[in-house]
Subunit: 379 residues, 2 copies
């Protein structure tokens, strides 16, 4: 990637609340306090504070969505979509990416220190929901002085947060872009989350979640990620990337990795262990399990929020019919909704990879939301 169209060097910031101010009242009935929320911002908030876009991330990502941290070579996870002249154009918009509570990327989660004990929470950390994550983000948006967000956008679990934002705070969202997501987590999705958690909890190094002195349950967490990775790709993208290519040219007749796909999964698993906390994987997947805005969840009242719903043809983890369920629900409420299924072969990962198609949908959608009319570019 050329750095020329990048937002450049960025820094993660931290918003703290619940020390003096009120803590976070969770759906479980517990109160989390104090709370730190990691976030980044790109571009400038205009005088009317009407150009703010909130970007929400998936399962294992973080607040670092675009640009580069000083001294690092790897850009943020949505660098291709956020920056000058990109889909989320930082020359026009003020883009905020907020991390989630329960994670391990700077926001309060199970690896944070419990003030009551002076040790990491571990499994004493309260189970949080998508609504709890969004409530924390709302406190951040209050703090930033933004009354109404121009747009809330995210893929996968980020898309759940998008829908939850509209459900919890409909008056504060002018437009919403849920990508590759669902109105409720299906039993198949719960099942995959369950085996992922079992993989972690079956590792003796997990120690009931109390492993912060002894080290991560590396093997279990790597296995969890390997399982996840299969579900993020598609049958076709695996065929295109690996087919039956062998690592060493011939069958080994042993249980090592004969095929490239095996080596790749192991590599991804091992790499993940270095960057993510096992307990956070439990908490965040559990939050997804509980997500259910079917019934009247999505719209308890009236809304004038505009929607752009995006799904991907080869995404079998969050199949298009789930996005179409959202669209049906919106249309039934006469909500201004555009839907597009992108003919991608990348599977669920497509929301990170299909830049051009998403850009051509999102750019005009944001402009229309911002200006209130279609912007036609002169040729």
């Amino acid at each position: 990637m050329e750095k020329t169209d990048s937002i450049g060097i960025v820094e993660t910031k931290y918003f703290l609340f619940g020390g003096d101010s009120a803590g976070l009242s969770l759906e479980s009935g517990r109160v989390l306090s104090p709370v730190t929320l990691a976030y980044e911002t790109y571009g400038r908030l205009n005088g009317e504070k009407s150009n703010a876009i909130l970007v929400l991330h998936a399962l294992s990502a973080d607040a670092h969505a675009a640009g580069f941290h000083k001294g690092e070579k790897e850009a943020g996870w949505w660098e291709t979509m956020i920056g000058p002249g990109k889909a989320f154009d930082t020359d026009k918009y003020f883009v905020i990416c907020s991390n989630v509570i329960g994670g391990c990327k700077g926001s309060t989660g199970p690896s944070s220190t419990d003030c009551a004990t002076g040790s990491p929470y571990g499994l004493d950390f309260p189970v949080v929901t998508i609504a709890d994550m969004v409530q924390a983000q709302r406190r951040l948006i209050d703090f930033l002085g933004i009354d109404r967000l121009l747009c809330v956008v995210g893929g996968s679990m980020g898309g759940m947060q998008v829908l939850q934002w509209v459900a919890s705070y409909p008056g504060r969202v002018r437009s919403a872009i849920p990508i590759a997501t669902a109105l409720k987590t299906s039993p198949q999705q719960i099942a995959f989350n369950e085996v992922v958690r079992q993989a972690i909890m079956a590792d003796p190094d997990w120690k009931g979640g109390d492993y912060y002195r002894s080290g991560q349950p590396e093997r279990g967490l790597a296995l969890a990620r390997m399982i996840g990775h299969i579900t993020f790709m598609s049958d076709q993208s695996m065929e295109e990337k690996f087919s039956r290519k062998l690592k060493n040219g011939a069958y080994s007749f042993r249980f090592g990795p004969d095929f490239e796909v095996q080596g790749y999964l192991r590599y991804r698993g091992d790499r993940f262990v270095k960057r993510f906390d096992a307990n956070s994987y439990l908490y965040v997947t559990k939050a997804m399990d509980y997500f259910d805005l079917s019934g009247n969840g999505l719209f308890p009242g009236e809304t004038d929020t505009r929607f752009l719903v995006i799904s991907f043809k080869s995404d079998w983890l969050y199949p298009s019919y789930q996005s179409q369920d959202i669209v049906r629900r919106l249309k039934a409420r006469r909500v201004d909704t555009t839907y597009c299924e992108i003919a991608s072969t990348y599977g669920h990962d497509a929301f990170l990879l299909e830049v051009e198609e998403q850009t051509s949908l999102i750019g005009p959608f944001l402009e229309k939301t911002f200006h209130g009319y279609d912007v036609v570019k002169s040729l």
Copy 2:
């Protein structure tokens, strides 16, 4: 199930070879000797020995395909398809079901005693392939004095054995019914097999495969089966069976099984541990990984074998396009081939569950193969 249309009480038999006779020369170059093969037979072999059907099983099944073992209440795994008046009509045909080597259901596998050491093989057992399994079955068919099988049939890994039979011994198979299977194992299928094996091998109780004194790696094997089970069902069948039903009426805000689907998976995992050997799961999945009859594998020479190829619409583990690849290959060789995609919602498990549809296809296909012409029943 009514027992009235059952073949009734049956017994597993054991065919031994390789003690005095030649052992089994494996694809790996190693020789397995002696070899025991477990099998069952239902119905009677006719004088011409022209009515024999060989049934081949999937990953974790066994030779007990139909009827009841004395004192047991559970019928064989394809009881609905094999018996008097059923798809594989034991009033007309002599049905043989052969177990596979590498398994743990009476045939030689990693849990068998290695004569060289007097202890179970464990990982000293040679890695076997689908072709090795079929070679052992061919010895059984020789022993039974059958020159030409009327039909070879099986689903999933059983279907791979069907294709391998035609590839290895085309002259000995009059017809073949590969169900819910593929010409080669895809990278996605290899990936799922890989995480299943990793789940077992990550369990400290696995001990490098040397656990026969200390007991199974129960947690890893249960997890392996849970992963497998998700892939055997479909998104839709899980929705129909579980939806988001809770076990105890309310969210627990803990990491126990809140949802019925979680409880079900754990139950299936725990039950599996009691009936299957962890090392066998490694060996049998590895045999599947190596399966590849693409290229000229399926038909090295001429064949007059007739084919009935069956797939299921909701089977995402062995999607219909893989069966259609088989059909294309057969049609290109002008092989007499019928193909049907059954509109089932059961996913990969459908080959065990869609009795009526499969019966209506298989019954006439077998009759035509047996008689050489279509048999029209008088009304």
